[in-house]
Every structure is written in structure tokens, then in C-alpha cells.
Assembly symmetry: C2
Homo-oligomer: 117 residues x 2
DNA sequence: CAGTATCCAAAGGGATACTG
DNA sequence: CAGTATCCCTTTGGATACTG
């Protein structure tokens, strides 16, 4: 007798994948990270109006908090008048770079693939 | 005078990233793909009960249709009694492998990072 | 400027039962 | 076995206005 398919809940890869998705899945997190990669440190206003097109302040605020809680971005209040706030990637955020690069590569290839359908 | 920050809507990377996310974001798509990578061709029942823990038939059905529409999986009806259906990754699905690997790697590292908080 | 508050619509997803 | 159908709840996200 043979147990043919193992249950993936007990699988480490599946577990790690689900962890990653729980944090990063959704419409905005990767876009924010990419924007910070490309432009470096940015202010709330810049993320809102320029680099992450279409996001609203409420959503951006919430996404940035999630990223901060998970040690992927740092929030810095600047001594300016009026006060400005800067967001920067942490060292740990480097770990997301391969994911983003792979997603972009897939997006590019997928576009041409679907076009030729 | 200097235009300091470009609008990312016109950026190819951001565009590709958003395309990829539109298709692959969510709780299940990557899990289904990973499961097919690990176990090879599988039947609906196996994906449902064994390899993708927790998904319901309605959702699995819908996710598989999405993946099929986007040329990532192939659906095959087998000549058995009762009828069975097999799902296999397409050649094009190889393009998602780097994303999944990167997500898993991130998930592993992120777990240890957050634990030590 | 950097958010929050409020309100609301749509999508995602789960439980359960049912069908060919 | 491989799905669909129905119902319903939660989450996500958008519009808009407001505050320190």
C-alpha cells in the first residue's frame, strides 16, 4: 500500500509561499516597493501623486504601515516646515528584489505570449 | 528647472509588474502552480483534497480556469469511468518558476526575520 | 504636507448542497 | 469525480472630505 500524494500543509515550501503571499499579495505592495527601488527614498506625497499612480491616501497609508510593521520600509519624520515624511527601504527589503524582478520578467513575457493568442 | 520624479504609469517595469499582479495576485494561484511543479500532473480531486490545502471546489475551479485562460495550465479530460480531469503546467508556466522560487526564499527569510523582532 | 474619517462598492473567498 | 449553484461574510479598495 502506498500513500501517493503528501499533504502540502506539512510542506515547508508551501508554508513559506503562503507566508510570503499573506504579506505581499494584493494590488499595491510590490508597486510601492518597486517605486522605492527605482527612485530611492521618497515622501508620502511623491508616492501618492507621482510614482505609484492611482493609489489613494488612505490605502497608501495602510500599505506603508503594513510594510513598516514587517520591517521592509522605514518611516522618517523630517524637520521641515511643514513636516514631511520620508519612506526608505530597509536592508531586509533586499530580499524582495528577486521577487519583483521575476514578476517584471514574467509580466513582460506574458504580455507577448497573450498577445499572440 | 528640473523635472525630478517621472510618472511611473509610463514606466515599463511598473506596467509589467502590474500586469503580472493582475493575473497572479491573490491567495491561491501561486499555491496551485507550486503544487503542480512539485507533484506534476494532478487531478481536480488531488489538488482539492491533498496538495492545495483549504481551497474549496468553487474557488479551485475558478482559479484553474483563470490559469487556463492565461495559458499556464492545460486541462485534459480522461477516458475513465467515471470521467476524471487532469491539470498540467504548460511550457509557458516555466516563466512563473523564478517568481515562485523567489517568493519561497523570501518567505523563509522573512519568517526568521520577523521572529527575531 | 501627511495623513484620518466616513461611507460605500466590488471582489475574494468560504460553507454547503447539489448535478451530470 | 468534477465541477456548479446558492448564499453570505470579510477584505480590499475607491471617492471624498476633513484635520493637525
Amino acid at each position: 500500500m502506498k500513500t501517493d500524494v503528501c499533504i502540502d500543509t506539512s510542506n515547508e515550501n508551501m508554508r513559506a509561499l503562503r507566508d510570503a503571499l499573506e504579506l505581499l499579495s494584493g494590488k499595491w505592495k510590490f508597486c510601492i516597493l518597486l517605486s522605492l527601488y527605482m527612485h530611492g527614498t521618497q515622501r508620502f506625497k511623491d508616492l501618492l501623486a507621482n510614482s505609484v499612480g492611482g493609489i489613494t491616501p488612505k490605502v497608501l497609508s495602510k500599505e506603508l504601515q503594513d510594510l513598516e510593521d514587517n520591517l521592509l520600509v522605514t518611516r522618517t519624520v523630517n524637520n521641515t516646515k511643514p513636516v514631511t515624511v520620508s519612506y526608505t527601504l530597509t536592508e531586509h527589503a533586499i530580499e524582495t528584489q528577486p521577487v519583483i524582478n521575476a514578476l517584471i520578467a514574467f509580466g513582460v513575457k506574458h504580455r507577448t505570449k497573450i498577445k499572440s493568442k
